[in-house]
């Protein structure tokens, strides 16, 4: 058996041994979904480098080799939220909820949201709002071809649930802090469900942090439903320690004339793998998938996208940019998939990467799969160094080498970060990216969560 096969069977055993606990709060249909996911996981196994989408992402290296604990129930870690978390950014008022090791934190501060909006733990939601949850849970995530999504479906017991009813516009961004905190290495699964009904508008910010130097393997699954004419902005900031691995699986479903924009900013982490699936399933939908990753040391960051145009007259734009320093490696595997009926599709995809050292490596594979002629599509990728002519030009004005390099990297990164719509959020993230590029990023300014040790 290979190491990954061993891990697979360990995880299957872990599930079998603990099925009772894992499913104790489940309604029948969720229990059934877990079982289906288990079968998918058994059949698919953990992706090896033979898998096209993981050709350049060696999971074995990151997922095996150490012992990990698994929390079957929320850690009885008692602390005041205010003691561990101070993210009171004056310019950026957000409604905050903490998710600790995959479980909705029970001492979250009360949130102030418009009538009808629900923000709570997913486990709580399945109890309190079973019909609402059942309508969407598991409807967009495809576990039959994605074994890591299947794995998450088997184990995840909690995460966040956000419901924005029809016609409700939430002005204040909702900030979800996903924290890893443990005395032992820990495996974390979490599951999120975000529902924006017709004409709803919401901006959600995920901040993924590790609070200690322990190694975490996080495998998350997020389903997002964007109703007719709804607008969802989804910003995700990943800032974890170098011992930790994070795999995120995000499934977006879009109805007619909806607009979904994601900005994924991978600032730090041992392994970061983001799988983003978007299905444009109503006419006139717009999807923007933007991503920036900054990797150094021996970090590996990789992005997989699958933007599926299922209906006519939809627009999608993908922009993934990476800066790789030292011995970092990266991969991009992106797909635009246009159905036969999806006429008048406009779909674009671009991946640009900068290697700062000869030892950094990037593999990129943009792909178009188009089943009709009446489309406007383009894709492209570049891997290069900083422009020597530009560097010299800047230095010739009296700006030092490091600062010149910084200006160019900042400009490169800013193309992605500049697309964040909310100004206060954009400014703040620009500031974080700036400090990350200067190698100064340890903490999120006013928040003592993201400390790397």
């Amino acid at each position: 058996m290979t190491k990954l096969e061993t891990l697979q069977s360990e995880l299957v055993n872990l599930f079998d041994d603990n099925t009772d606990v894992l499913t104790s709060n489940d309604s029948d249909w969720i229990r059934q979904q877990r079982k289906n996911a288990l079968e998918d996981f058994k059949r698919l196994g953990i992706p090896t480098k033979k898998n096209e989408a993981y050709k350049y992402t060696n999971l074995e290296q990151y997922l095996t080799g150490s012992e990990y604990d698994y929390e079957l129930a929320p850690l009885t870690y008692e602390a005041n939220l205010d003691d561990i978390f101070h993210c009171d950014i004056p310019e950026l008022a957000t409604q905050i909820a903490l998710v600790l090791n995959g479980f909705y934190y029970k001492h979250n501060r009360p949130v102030d949201l418009p009538q009808g909006v629900i923000l709570c733990g997913l486990a709580e939601a399945t109890q309190k709002y079973p019909e609402l949850v059942a309508k969407h849970y598991g409807k967009y995530a495809n576990t039959s071809t994605n074994s890591l999504a299947a794995l998450s479906s088997m184990f995840a017991q909690d995460g966040i649930f956000l419901y924005v009813p029809k016609n409700v516009v939430i002005e204040t961004p909702i900030q979800i802090i996903n924290v890893g905190y443990s005395f032992k290495n820990l495996r974390v699964n979490r599951r999120n469900l975000i529902i924006a009904e017709d004409n709803a508008q919401v901006s959600v910010l995920f901040c993924d942090h590790t609070l200690c130097a322990r190694s975490f393997i996080t495998n998350s699954l997020t389903e997002i439903y964007t109703g007719n004419n709804a607008q969802v902005d989804f910003t995700r900031m990943q800032n974890e320690n170098s011992n930790s691995s994070q795999i995120s699986n995000t499934f977006i479903h879009q109805e007619a004339n909806s607009t979904f924009t994601s900005n994924t900013l991978s600032l730090h982490g041992g392994l970061i793998r983001n799988n983003i699936y978007a299905k444009l399933d109503g006419e006139g939908a717009t999807n923007n998938t933007y991503s920036l990753f900054l990797a150094d040391g021996e970090q590996h960051m990789s992005t997989y996208t699958n933007v599926h145009h299922a209906k006519p007259h939809c627009f999608s734009d993908q922009l993934v940019k990476g800066v790789l320093d030292e011995k970092a490696t990266g991969a991009f595997n992106g797909k635009i998939y246009v159905d036969v009926d999806a006429v008048k599709t406009e779909a674009f995809q671009r991946n640009n990467n900068i290697l700062l050292t000869p030892t950094a490596k990037m593999n990129t594979k943009p792909q178009l799969v188009i089943y009709n002629d009446d489309v406007k599509c383009s894709h492209g990728a570049t891997v290069g160094q900083l422009d020597e002519n530009a560097l010299f030009y800047i230095r010739s004005r009296g700006i030092g080498y490091n600062e010149a390099q910084h200006l160019l990297m900042y400009a490169f990164a800013n193309e992605v970060v500049g697309k964040i719509k909310l100004e206060a959020l954009r400014e703040r993230i620009i500031d974080m990216v700036d400090r990350r590029l200067r190698g100064e990023l340890g903490t999120c300014e006013n928040c003592n969560l993201g400390q790397h040790n």
């Binding site: 530009a390 030009y393 230095r395 010739s396 009296g398 700006i399 200006l407 490169f412 193309e415």
Partner: protein, 247 residues
Amino acid sequence: MLKINNLHASIEGKEILKGISLEVKPGEVHAIMGPNGSGKSTLASVLAGRDLFDVTEGTVEFLDQDLLDMAPEDRARSGLFLGFQYPVEIPGVSMVNFMKTAVNEHRKHNNLDPLSASDFLKLMREKKEVVDITSNLTNRSVNEGFSGGEKKRNEIFQMAMLDPKMAILDETDSGLDIDALKIVAHGVNKLRTKENATIIITHYQRLLEYIVPDFVHILYKGKIVKSSGKELALELEEKGYDWIKEQ
């Protein structure tokens, strides 16, 4: 202020500058002319510190410092300015941010505090007038999408902002319409003082009507083959380079 002595430089083993000597004193304007490919831009680049070229022989002193031993940014901070023949486009870096960083680096070098935001904007406004540059150019990314003439004006604008002791202007006149040429020349003249010196690289006598040089040098195949007063430019205009080649 600038003493070039027997300067040789090559690229990929090919010698481009083959022993150049030139002295520029404060207050002087020198023009360097010469056919395409003779090494004018190479000389300018070597002086500004482009490491693409290897200096194989010779020395350059600038304000009593060993220029060749300095990083490009240190040369600039000491008061050397190069107006590029081909200014580089830098998408995503705003002119404002670029200039603010540059000005403050110069100030730091002179032990001055960084300019406040309002003082900086005031300085920008002042210097923009010198070259009659419109404000929307400074709101854009450095040179990105600028027309040929706009790029050249932008070089003079940067020169005005940085107030160098010695400016090397590499074909700042090419690509300029006659009005722009006057504006640029006017800008250069305005910045001219008894302490400053300028080297103008040009193909045309026309610019020298507006910026009157003290000396004209002809660079040919990596060597200065002739140096004289401003009348040399006229002679060149009349006779072309064949006259030089024949000698």
